[in-house]
Symmetry: C2
């Protein structure tokens, strides 16, 4: 329960209609896209301006009450669950595109704008904002920045980080800072902009972002290749990159995913394939045609069982359906779906998929794997049941071993979902004890009283690293 004087102060700042502490609002904001995680906040506020955010933060800091800022809460790491109580701040009212500057190719936007709406605006102005997280129809730009969201185009175009060039943010004490600007080059001190991107709401509250835009590709082609041999698919990925082609999209689905997707979407996929690659290239027409032809030849050389190149946009959409259905198809199998994002160097994709399969077998759990093969960002996905604590325990053990395997292959515990609560016990595995200490030090500089999204990124206890016993 919030101190009544503080509640009254917050009501004055945002207006009565935008302060909620009724049960319904509290429950609605007690969870996010992450399974099996819930905590009730003390209140929910909906600010409409940077000044209100600043005033809220000033009030909360004087009462030492935590703040969890959130957009749509579509994250998968427990990033917006108020695990230590406090006030949830929903950014949806700050959802305006403030400026589209076609001379400098930048957009300045408020954090609460839905990503897909933003992209729609940008594309209808003949420009291009590449980050395309799968959540984009519900996620917000602010959430994307907080988590440094990736997506299907990461391979060629990078992730959210590569497009954020300026920020306005409110600090824990309510002060407003501005970093970067409409500048392609700026080395005035440490790069606070990139530090805030991916900081998961633990360092400051982003209230405005200046994003870099680029000219859109003139055309796009889509193809699908199926492989009986997992290594054939993996060698194809490597051979494409080695032949100096960076496709816009290079997605992968393993056999368990193919089976589930086909059962769900009735696409008539061959169920004996070990892997499907979905490949897209964009750019100028001549380049795209040449690249797709080279990729087709590589697929043939690597014994692809079937190769389909879409002749029309409609056909391309049909080819995309399988990959797009993957999560939905898996999610309907059993009550609980846990989607992870262990990431490896792209040359290690096949090794990693085999390791995931071994681990799933060892713990007798169902894990299907799909994801972004081109950048090594895989989504091993467990279908399970949160009510079966014994099975959930095995799933957790399996994922622990999957993270360890990713690190052993030169990878990371999270490629695009963030640390949040879920990966916090494993952060030290990736960055080491000194790395974690540095990060904790940075957190303390920005937020000495630990008020901004407390309980995230840093775990009370680091998990002991499992010793992997192959075979």
């Amino acid at each position: 329960m919030l101190d009544s004087a503080l509640a009254a102060r917050l009501r004055i700042i945002v207006g009565d209609a935008h302060f909620r502490d009724d049960k319904e609002a509290l429950i609605t904001h007690s969870y996010d896209g992450t399974p099996m995680l819930q905590a009730i906040p003390d209140a929910v506020v909906y600010p409409e301006s940077t000044e209100q955010v600043s005033a809220i933060m000033e009030a909360l800091s004087s009462y030492k009450v935590p703040l969890i800022s959130r957009g749509s809460g579509s994250n998968l790491c427990g990033g917006t669950v108020p695990v230590q109580g406090g006030v949830v701040m929903v950014m949806h009212r700050m959802n305006r595109l403030l400026e589209l500057d076609t001379e400098n190719l930048t957009a300045t936007v408020q954090p609460g704008m839905i990503t897909a709406d933003f992209i729609h605006h940008i594309e209808s102005s003949g420009l291009f904002y590449p980050p395309d997280p799968s959540s984009m129809r519900i996620s917000t730009i602010g959430g994307n920045i907080a988590e440094c969201s990736g997506g299907l185009r990461g391979l060629k175009y990078g992730t959210t980080k590569d497009y954020v060039i300026g920020l306005e943010a409110v600090l824990a004490n309510g002060e407003i800072i501005r970093t970067g600007g409409k500048l392609m080059k700026d080395v005035a001190g440490y790069d606070l902009t990139k530090l805030l991107v991916g900081s998961e709401g633990t360092l400051a509250i982003i209230t405005e972002a200046t994003l870099k835009l680029i000219p859109p590709p003139k055309c796009k082609m889509t193809m699908l290749a199926m492989f009986r041999d997992l290594y054939g698919a993996a060698r194809t990925v490597s051979a494409i990159i080695e032949s100096r082609i960076i496709p816009a999209t290079l997605e992968f689905m393993d056999n368990p995913t193919i089976r589930v997707v086909d059962d769900f979407a009735k696409l008539g996929l061959p169920l004996d394939m070990e892997a499907i690659l979905l490949i897209e290239q964009d750019g100028d027409p001549e380049t795209v045609a040449r690249d797709i032809e080279m990729i087709r030849q590589i697929c043939e050389r690597e014994q692809a069982d079937s190769i389909q190149v879409a002749a029309t946009r409609e056909e391309a959409e049909r080819l995309l359906t399988a990959r797009r259905s993957a999560f939905t198809a898996l999610a309907r199998l059993r009550p609980t779906t846990i989607l992870e994002d262990a990431t490896v160097p792209r040359s290690k994709i096949a090794d990693m998929v085999l390791r995931i399969n071994e681990i799933a077998k060892k713990y007798n759990v169902i894990i299907a794997t799909f994801g972004h093969a081109g950048d090594g960002n895989l989504h091993p996905t467990a279908t399970t049941d949160a009510r079966d604590t014994e099975e959930i325990h095995r799933v957790e053990q399996a994922f622990e071993e999957i993270f360890a395997a990713a690190l052993e292959l030169g990878g990371t515990i999270t490629g695009e979902h963030g640390v949040g609560v879920v990966k916090a016990p494993f952060l030290e595995w990736k960055i080491g004890a000194s790395g974690v200490e540095l990060m904790k030090g940075i957190k303390k500089v920005f937020d000495p009283d630990n008020l901004l999204n407390p309980g995230k990124v840093f775990a009370k206890q680091t998990r002991k690293r499992v010793v992997i016993n192959h075979g």
Copy 2:
């Protein structure tokens, strides 16, 4: 003078031949590429491994003696001058390309490798590392990372920051950390990799870097356009970008630069032109030809007085000569050349050039301006004489006003040279007092005893912002 026990310990770590405290070595390492700045170190060490760097740092931290790590010292911000004494650590012996991974398109390199040598290796393997600082023939990769160097290709390809994906670094206490990896996506905690890039040796000593490579463009075309009207040139820059073309290079020289360059290189440039644009595009042949033709049309529309498109590589080299000679030509005019890098949004190029000219006139100093028009990164260059303290004072006043003008136009005090000593008094103008406090806090987390390159980035006193009186 170094404590003799410490000196003995350093000698043991690096070997007698690689520890120097003779007068010649101390004087040689008392300055860098920055004019009018010199300070004598207490010793110079030349480590050959990360382990040696770690042992050196452990020794220095126990004696609380500062360390200044440097490559070739080609920076222009006083970044490697030992202004508070201490030990200069020269990284030239750690100059190996450790791995070129053609499957993952990464290179792992030691910091002391000369940038041009690195680029030569990469290009002869059919790959591409875009950052191309003008200093590349003498500068090191480690220096480029410390300063986040830019270059002529920044507009299209970004700067050093965009290519550093993993680091090994030694902390102030001698501990070794590793960040990132051969990963295109990694969101495991705060982005320490990008934080270290551009931190000017004040947070940690970089001992190894993993760099992202990309496929090389298949061809390149070069053109030169001359304008009687400065705004015509500026409008051309904007119109190119607005027509959705991002050239590989889009360089600018103003009239004073043209005059000096022509006098130096005898190129027969027309001396009544207000601006020359040097434009290059690279990529697939069809795209390049189409873009260059569109750019040619834009130049014509904006009343370019002459437009030359190079038909051969030799002709292209000839067109490039003017821009390449700019610094050398200016440097020979008078004893002291001060090259700055005030940067503005690219739409403000013409305004900025006019402001620079006004300011130069007001203080009766010679300032010629050239630079990277495409990303708004200008190099106003004063030719002066360090011995004439009265004139130098006027030059400093002029630059102070130039920085203020850049900020007023939405720009920054430094686009690619770094803060070092030279820009430290102005850092607060860009990032505000809270921003500077955050940066100081980060510095303290990494380096609590202020041993790593002390006296840089943060000034003892912030310069009072000048009030600009137009006209």
